[in-house]
Subunit: 202 residues, 2 copies
Amino acid sequence: MIRVLLVHDACLLRSALAERLAREPDLEVFHAPWRGARDRIGEVRPDVCVVDPDGDSTYASAEFGEQSHPVTGGLGSPLLVLVSGNRPGLLRRCTEAGALGYVDKASPPDRLLAGIRQVAAGLRFVDDSLGFGFLKAAQMPLTHRELLVLALAAGGAPVAEIANRLHLTNGTVRNYMAAITRKTGARNRIDAIRISRVEGWV
Amino acid sequence: MIRVLLVHDACLLRSALAERLAREPDLEVFHAPWRGARDRIGEVRPDVCVVDPDGDSTYASAEFGEQSHPVTGGLGSPLLVLVSGNRPGLLRRCTEAGALGYVDKASPPDRLLAGIRQVAAGLRFVDDSLGFGFLKAAQMPLTHRELLVLALAAGGAPVAEIANRLHLTNGTVRNYMAAITRKTGARNRIDAIRISRVEGWV
């Protein structure tokens, strides 16, 4: 039996998907919202942890904080993520978190079943339809430092606060923002943040 | 038999939820992504259209445009929306679109079943847990005109373009943005857009 823990915030969708998975004879399925996912992993000891890192709420990132975020920080369990090819930033963050399986949310459920079995066997699984998303993720033009500046700006921090947090001058922060706006092909800072959010970079 | 059309972009979650609903003896269930939802409604002629207006992708708003958006423009079928209490802006837009049913995504599936049956009978259905969200929606401090300015700014439009589209002077647009920032308790424009997006106003 493969023990699967499904983590998603919307109980309605999560429990329906869990019921579908539980109809497979080789799967034992548990589910939890993001809040409390860490405790459930300790109790369940899953062979595969299936997570939706995008979620429907802000919990996915807010509840756990940077260090212990289940995707960026690792849940200590083989990870299969439910993702979308048009969110290259999220794909890259999942890669950095060491996810083994990548299933397109637009796929039918049997792709998820194939992915779960492959990840449970310790193998990588990547849905074919995600290829272009991974290509875009690899072509990301922003540097790590620029992404940090962008994330703080997107959170509403004024230039002076960003400068203070990253030990930079105000002028340097403005230069970073100008570079970010140019590289993302945006019309202004707000547009750069919008584009980056849609693609899942912040 | 109640004919139900379930509209959601993520095939994985949509088909699992549709299977769950289809196990009820009094429901006949169809499902579709947002793209193509309008055509499916014509074919299926559902008694209840269950939609997730938040979706997982940008299609929900991008594909349909303002006039014909399935929530703001109306799908021509009794509407039940899957929503969250912490998105008051979205709740209000659903109200304005004339949705009859409001089911919390955090509810277990039997609440959705109760909602579907009530809406099919032509009655309003509101999940208890959404009360505070509706209260917040009623307390929205921004005017209709301010929301228009905010939506254009959030889309990345520069001040001059917003002024041009709404037949205002640049100075008036700046005054609107200052009022929006003050009323939302934000630190700056970017923060005002962030807060409004989280709450579902834009």
